[in-house]
């Protein structure tokens, strides 16, 4: 990878390498989406990705390809789907174990700092199942006069 593989920006090469490592053919569209997504930890909806990608203008990417790509990245573990808003899925470029804070009022999703919240206990699983992941979501309201 390049010399500046920090969190500010990723070179095409970095993204191509990352995709190949994950067994994904690095097409132009996927690299474009990857550069945006992997630049830093963030939570984006498909719609937001579509908007950002076509603003950067590196390559025209269709809605279908955005969805296909995000699903592919999720299956391959490059992003994590976050299901907290009944109206849309968020894709989280931070794949390390961490939990979320969702503002019900404005639809904002943010991270809970690592270590601030921990899940204790090992529940009995239904027969024939294995754990795929644990999600903790703290739902918050914007403080204001309300019913």
């Amino acid at each position: 990878m390049s010399l500046h593989s920090g969190q500010e920006n990723l070179s095409k090469q970095d993204v191509i390498a990352k995709l190949q490592t994950a067994g994904i053919t690095p097409t132009q569209q996927r690299v474009t989406i990857g550069r945006l997504l992997f630049a830093r930890p963030q939570h984006l909806s498909a719609e937001q990705v579509l908007g950002m990608v076509n603003q950067v203008g590196e390559a025209r990417v269709s809605k279908a390809t955005v969805y296909n790509t995000l699903n592919l990245f999720a299956r391959r573990g490059l992003v994590r789907e976050v299901i907290v808003d009944p109206t849309k899925v968020f894709y989280d470029s931070n794949t390390t174990v961490h939990h979320h804070l969702f503002n019900i009022d404005d639809g904002t999703l943010s991270d809970i700092k690592p270590g601030e919240v921990t899940v204790v206990g090992s529940p009995t699983l239904p027969e024939g199942t294995v754990v795929a992941g644990i999600d903790v979501v703290l739902r918050v309201h914007s403080k204001q006069a309300s019913a």
Copy 2:
């Protein structure tokens, strides 16, 4: 409430009382839905509620009314919305604090027994927000040969 307010069945009177306590006008449709929903702890989708209601046949209930009613019940705290499946919302008639187990493969939602899992810690909240609730979702796969 009636003498048999256990978990097997609820009389219309019980449900009417419950709705009124929550400040909800007990219409025929709402009572019908409530009897089904509050009969025992369960997780139902709007579609399932619609199906069950019109099978019982106490009163014809339209799809729109099922949605309106479930949203109303949720706002008034009679049921809890569970957001775990990106394709639909589950309504949980158990409003006590508890967490869930979601089978990604078959879309099944079940409860984690009380006490088996606990959340520890109090994260810093964004300014101007208050906690509305905490959800813990353990996602599981059906055990089988897979990629």
